[in-house]
C-alpha cells in the first residue's frame, strides 16, 4: 500500500464526510430543539437533487440560479412538512413525531417516484465543474475543491450566526430547554421553522455534492445517507454544531478507510461498519465523542 493510495482514500473520506457533516448539521439542529429524528431530512436532499435535475433539463438557466431556486424549493418543502406533519403533533410524545417523520419520508419518496420514475437517472454536472486537477499525489475535481471551500464557509457563517446573533442565541436556548425558552418570550415556532430552513437548505447543497459524486440519482438515494448522517450527529454528540461536523468527517473518513484499506473479504460490510462503529462509541461515550459531560437528555 502506497501513501498516495492512502491519501486518495483519505480524500474520498473527506468528500463523503463533508456530505455527512452538512446533512448532520440539519439533523442535529432539529433534534436538538424538538428531540425528533427527522427521517424525512434525507428525502429533502432527494427533493433538492431532483429539482436541480429538472431545472437543468430546461436549459438556459445558469447553475448558481438553479442551485438557489432548488434550495428555495427544498426549504419550502421542509417548512411545509414542519407545518402540516410535525406542528400538529408538537404536544404529543416523541415517538409520534418520529412515526410522522417516517410517513413523511415515505410520502416524499413515493411522490418523487410518481412524478419521475423509480429508475435511476444520470446526473451530469457541467464540464467546468468536473475537470480534474492534480494536487500532489491526489486527483480532485473542481467540484470537490468548491465543496471543501463551501463546507468551510458554511461552517464559519453558521457558527457566527449561532454564537453572535440573537436568533442563534434563541436557538441555543430552545435546544437547551424548550419550555423555559417559551417562558422567556422566545417565539419558539419561529425558531423551529428557522432550524428547518437552515437544515433543508443545507440538505439541498449536500444532495448536489452527493449526486455530483455518484453521477446517478434515484428516489431512494437520500434515505440511507440521511440515516448515516444522523449516526454522525450522534457520534459527534447530538445537539452541537461542531459535534455534528466532526462526527460527519470522522464517519466519512472511517467508512472510506474501512472500504479502502481492509481486506476485500470484509469491505462489503462498509454500510454495516458505520452502525457497528456507532454502537461501540455509544457503549463507551453515550453522549458522543464531543458530547462532554452533559446530562443524558431523554
Amino acid at each position: 500500500m502506497t501513501s498516495s493510495y492512502f491519501l486518495s482514500q483519505l480524500m474520498n473520506g473527506l468528500k463523503i464526510g463533508s456530505v455527512y457533516a452538512i446533512v448532520a448539521i440539519g439533523y442535529s439542529m432539529v433534534y436538538g430543539i424538538l428531540r425528533l429524528i427527522n427521517f424525512a431530512h434525507g428525502d429533502i436532499l432527494t427533493v433538492g437533487v431532483y429539482s436541480i435535475l429538472t431545472l437543468m433539463a430546461f436549459g438556459g438557466l445558469p447553475l448558481w440560479l438553479i442551485i438557489i431556486i432548488s434550495i428555495c424549493i427544498s426549504i419550502g418543502v421542509g417548512v411545509m412538512v414542519e407545518r402540516f406533519a410535525y406542528r400538529p403533533l408538537r404536544s404529543s410524545g416523541e415517538e409520534t413525531t418520529l412515526i410522522s417523520s417516517l410517513a413523511v419520508s415515505s410520502i416524499l419518496q413515493n411522490v418523487i417516484m410518481m412524478i419521475f420514475s423509480p429508475q435511476k437517472k444520470a446526473f451530469h454536472l457541467p464540464e467546468y465543474l468536473t475537470a480534474l486537477h492534480k494536487v500532489g499525489s491526489v486527483t480532485l475535481s473542481t467540484m470537490n475543491i468548491i465543496t471543501f471551500i463551501a463546507v468551510f464557509v458554511i461552517l464559519v457563517i453558521l457558527s457566527i450566526v449561532i454564537k453572535r446573533t440573537s436568533m442563534g442565541m434563541a436557538m441555543r436556548a430552545c435546544s437547551d430547554n424548550l419550555t423555559a425558552s417559551r417562558l422567556m418570550g422566545i417565539d419558539v415556532n419561529k425558531i423551529i421553522v428557522m432550524a428547518f430552513v437552515i437544515g433543508c437548505g443545507l440538505a439541498c447543497v449536500a444532495g448536489l455534492m452527493l449526486a455530483g459524486e455518484y453521477k446517478t440519482i434515484e428516489p431512494m438515494m437520500g434515505f440511507v445517507p440521511g440515516l448515516k448522517a444522523f449516526c454522525a450527529a450522534v457520534l459527534g454528540g447530538i445537539g452541537s454544531l461542531s459535534g455534528a461536523v466532526a462526527g460527519g468527517f470522522i464517519l466519512g473518513i472511517a467508512e472510506m478507510l474501512f472500504a479502502g484499506l481492509m481486506p476485500t473479504s470484509i469491505t462489503p460490510y462498509r454500510e454495516a461498519f458505520v452502525f457497528v462503529l456507532l454502537i461501540i462509541v455509544l457503549l463507551f461515550k453515550p453522549n458522543g465523542i464531543f458530547g462532554g459531560k452533559e446530562a443524558n437528555k431523554s
Partner: protein, 386 residues
C-alpha cells in the same frame, strides 16, 4: 337501573371475536390457493409481529424500529432446519456437517430461530437499553443494515443476495393461527401480570417505577428479548409462507410496515394488533391496481408507481394527527373476549340472551345517553353516609 350496551353482551363478543374469525380462518384454510383467502395468513403473521412489537413499543416505552432484523434471523435459522440436505448442499454449502444433515419438526425449527433472535437481541440490547431517548430506534435501524450486510455477503452460509428458495411450505393457516392464539394469550397474561404492570409503570414514569423497586435495565432487556423471540418465530413463519427468503425482504420496508401497523392499530393495546394486521394485509392489495393504472368511474387513470405506499403513508399521518392512540387506544376488549371464560359459557346462560334484547331496547329508547350523565350504577351502590 343499569343500562345495557352491546359491550355487555358476551354472546355478541363470542360471535364477533371468536366465531367470525374462526369462520374466516376455516375458509382461508380450505381455500389455500385463493388470492384473498391466502392473505389471511399474512394477516395472522402481522398480528403476531405487531403484538410482539407492542410489548416493546407500547407497553415498555422503548422504541424499536428494527424488528425486521429479528425476523430475518428467525427466517434463516429456521430454514436451516427444515430444508433437505440436498437443498442445503446446493445453496448453503458452508454450513457445518451436522447442520446440513439436521432436519427438525417445523415448530422446533421456529423455536430455535426465535432463540437465535434472542441472542442477537441480548447483544444489541445490553449496551443500548441503558440509555433513554431515541438511541434504541437508531441502533435497531442499524441492526437491519448490519443483518442485511451479513446475509448478502456470507454467501457460503446464506447464498448471498440471491437468497434461499424452495423452503417447504409448512406455515399453513392452521399453524399460523394456533401460534397466533398462543402468542396473544401469552402476551395478554403477561401484561396483566405483575411483570406487565411493572413494564407499564416503567413506561409511564421510570423514576417513580425505580423507587418502587423495579429494575429498569433487566425489565427493558427481558421485554426486548421476549419480543425478539416472538418476532423471530414470526419471521420463520413468514419465510416458510413465501418459500423464498432473501436479505432484501427483511429491510426497511418490512420493518416500517410493521411499525406502521402497530401505530394504526394502536400500540398501547394488544388488541390493536388485530385490526391493524388485517388492514395492513388487505389494504395494499386493494390499492395495488392503482400502480398499474386502473379504470375508475369511467376514467382511465395513468400508471402511478408508489401510489399505494403514498396512500398508506397519508392514512398513517391522518391517524396520528386525529387519533393518536391508534384505532384501539388502550382498549383490550378483542383479546379479552377471546380469552375470557365468560365469553364461552355465555351460550348456556339465559341471562346472556336477555342481555341482547336489553341492549337493543336501550339502544332504541336512547337510555344510554342519559345514563352517561347520571352514572346510576355508582350512585345506587354507594352506602348511605351516616
Amino acid at each position: 337501573m343499569r343500562t345495557t350496551t352491546f359491550k355487555d353482551c358476551n354472546i355478541l363478543r363470542l360471535l364477533v371475536f371468536v366465531i367470525l374469525p374462526l369462520c374466516a380462518i376455516v375458509y382461508g384454510a380450505s381455500h389455500p390457493s385463493g388470492y384473498y383467502a391466502g392473505l389471511i395468513n399474512l394477516a395472522g403473521i402481522y398480528i403476531i409481529l405487531v403484538a410482539s412489537l407492542n410489548l416493546v413499543n407500547g407497553f415498555s416505552g422503548m422504541f424499536s424500529m428494527g424488528h425486521a432484523a429479528f425476523m430475518a434471523i428467525g427466517a434463516y435459522i429456521s430454514a436451516f432446519f427444515t430444508l433437505t440436505p440436498a437443498q442445503k448442499m446446493a445453496s448453503t454449502p458452508g454450513l457445518p456437517e451436522w447442520l446440513i444433515n439436521a432436519n427438525l419438526p417445523f415448530v422446533v425449527a421456529l423455536i430455535i430461530g426465535g432463540a437465535c433472535a434472542v441472542v442477537v437481541a441480548l447483544i444489541i440490547g445490553y449496551p443500548v437499553l441503558r440509555f433513554k431517548g431515541h438511541y434504541l430506534s437508531i441502533v435497531t435501524l442499524g441492526l437491519i443494515v448490519i443483518v442485511r450486510a451479513v446475509l448478502d455477503n456470507e454467501g457460503e452460509y446464506t447464498n448471498g443476495a440471491r437468497g434461499i428458495t424452495g423452503l417447504p411450505p409448512k406455515s399453513n393457516t392452521v399453524v399460523i393461527f394456533i401460534i397466533m392464539a398462543i402468542v396473544l394469550y401469552f402476551l395478554f397474561r403477561l401484561i396483566r401480570s405483575q411483570y406487565g404492570r411493572g413494564l407499564i409503570a416503567m413506561r409511564d414514569d421510570d423514576v417513580a417505577a425505580q423507587t418502587l423497586g423495579i429494575n429498569l435495565a433487566s425489565k427493558k432487556l427481558s421485554a426486548f428479548c421476549i419480543s425478539a423471540f416472538i418476532t423471530g418465530m414470526a419471521g420463520g413463519l413468514f419465510g416458510h409462507m413465501q418459500s423464498v427468503i432473501s436479505g432484501k425482504f427483511y429491510y426497511f420496508d418490512l420493518s416500517f410496515r410493521v411499525v406502521q401497523t402497530s401505530i394504526i392499530g394502536g400500540m398501547f393495546s394488544l388488541s390493536g394488533a388485530v385490526p391493524g394486521g388485517i388492514i395492513m394485509a388487505y389494504l395494499p392489495e386493494v390499492l395495488a391496481p392503482l400502480e398499474t393504472g386502473v379504470k375508475l368511474f369511467g376514467h382511465q387513470l395513468p400508471e402511478m408507481y408508489g401510489a399505494s405506499n403514498l396512500i398508506m403513508a397519508i392514512i398513517l399521518i391522518l391517524i396520528i394527527i386525529f387519533r393518536r392512540q391508534g384505532l384501539m387506544g388502550e382498549h383490550e376488549f378483542i383479546v379479552e373476549s377471546m380469552f375470557s371464560k365468560d365469553t364461552y359459557t355465555s351460550l348456556f346462560k339465559k341471562e346472556e340472551y336477555l342481555n341482547i334484547g336489553r341492549a337493543f331496547r336501550d339502544l332504541f329508547t336512547g337510555k344510554w345517553r342519559k345514563s352517561k350523565k347520571a352514572l346510576p350504577e355508582d350512585i345506587d351502590n354507594t352506602p348511605p353516609v351516616v
